[in-house]
Subunit: 136 residues, 2 copies
DNA sequence: ATGCAAATGCAAATCGTTTGCATTTATATA
DNA sequence: TATATAAATGCAAACGATTTGCATTTGCAT
């Protein structure tokens, strides 16, 4: 299954990592480390391994860590639709960024306001590092 | 000074709270509880009080709690420019929301990409709770 | 000025997370 | 396919940020 994701970040394709990633992929909402632990069928993965794995995944930009309304640390897969575009207003270069937290942010807003959010801007305007170097 | 903010949330206007709020307001960037503790001039406020106060402020929607790149919990004032508008695509009602995390999110993006962000959409489109109740 | 609930300081407890170490496992190479 | 080696894991112990209990103090309404 999800083979590349491991090799891509030079992470070994181990039982624990496959299971943890699978749990996160199947989940509709972000999970705490403890929840992942409980969801792992036989609980055959040690909690410390879960924490180590989650940290690896965060560092590899595969998942992101946030705080929920209950002040717990939660983890969730960075999905394709979470990716946004940075547009340089000078050279018009377009750069894709991963792990943009807007999606999460919007979920929070939905929870807090009862709104059903359909859309939001996915382009962010600014000046890229290259153009910042050019004097005017 | 900032009198209403306390009465508004029925929080007593105490020395600790005034000091902590002041530190957060003066700070250009989000702070950890420990940093706030160290910034308090005479460190005359107990760490436990700082934590209790920060929790009160978060609950009262005066500040927000997030995770920085170093995986520490950080707190920052919810500023006016952090507020965004929810626009209902059915009834065109406009609702202001406080504590929208886009601003923080953008700061993170700036750090990670080197981009200087100038602008982003402040209107979010969806369906408000009232319109969700109306059958079509 | 008085009373009372809320807030505080202090010390101790809690609990989510990390770490050390011996053992196991995945992957590269012969 | 067998072998070597670094990486990953489980377990138990440690850690440290945050919370809590309790006696005392403080803010605020009356």
């Amino acid at each position: 299954m999800n083979d590349e994701i491991f090799t891509k970040h030079s992470l070994k394709r181990t039982h624990s990592r496959i299971e943890i990633l699978s749990v996160l992929e199947k989940s509709q909402s972000p999970l705490t480390a403890e929840e992942i632990f409980k969801l792992l069928r036989k609980r055959d993965v040690d909690l410390s391994t879960i924490y180590r794995t989650l940290n690896s995944f965060v560092d590899a930009n595969i998942i992101k860590k946030e705080i929920n309304n209950n002040k717990e640390n939660i983890f969730s897969i960075i999905k394709e639709e979470d990716k946004h575009i940075l547009v340089c207003t000078k050279c018009h270069k377009r750069v894709e960024i991963a792990g943009c937290p807007y999606h999460e942010a919007n979920e929070k807003i939905e929870q807090e306001t009862g709104f059903l959010i359909n859309d939001h801007t996915t382009e962010i305007y600014g000046i890229c590092p290259d153009c910042q170097k050019i004097k005017l």
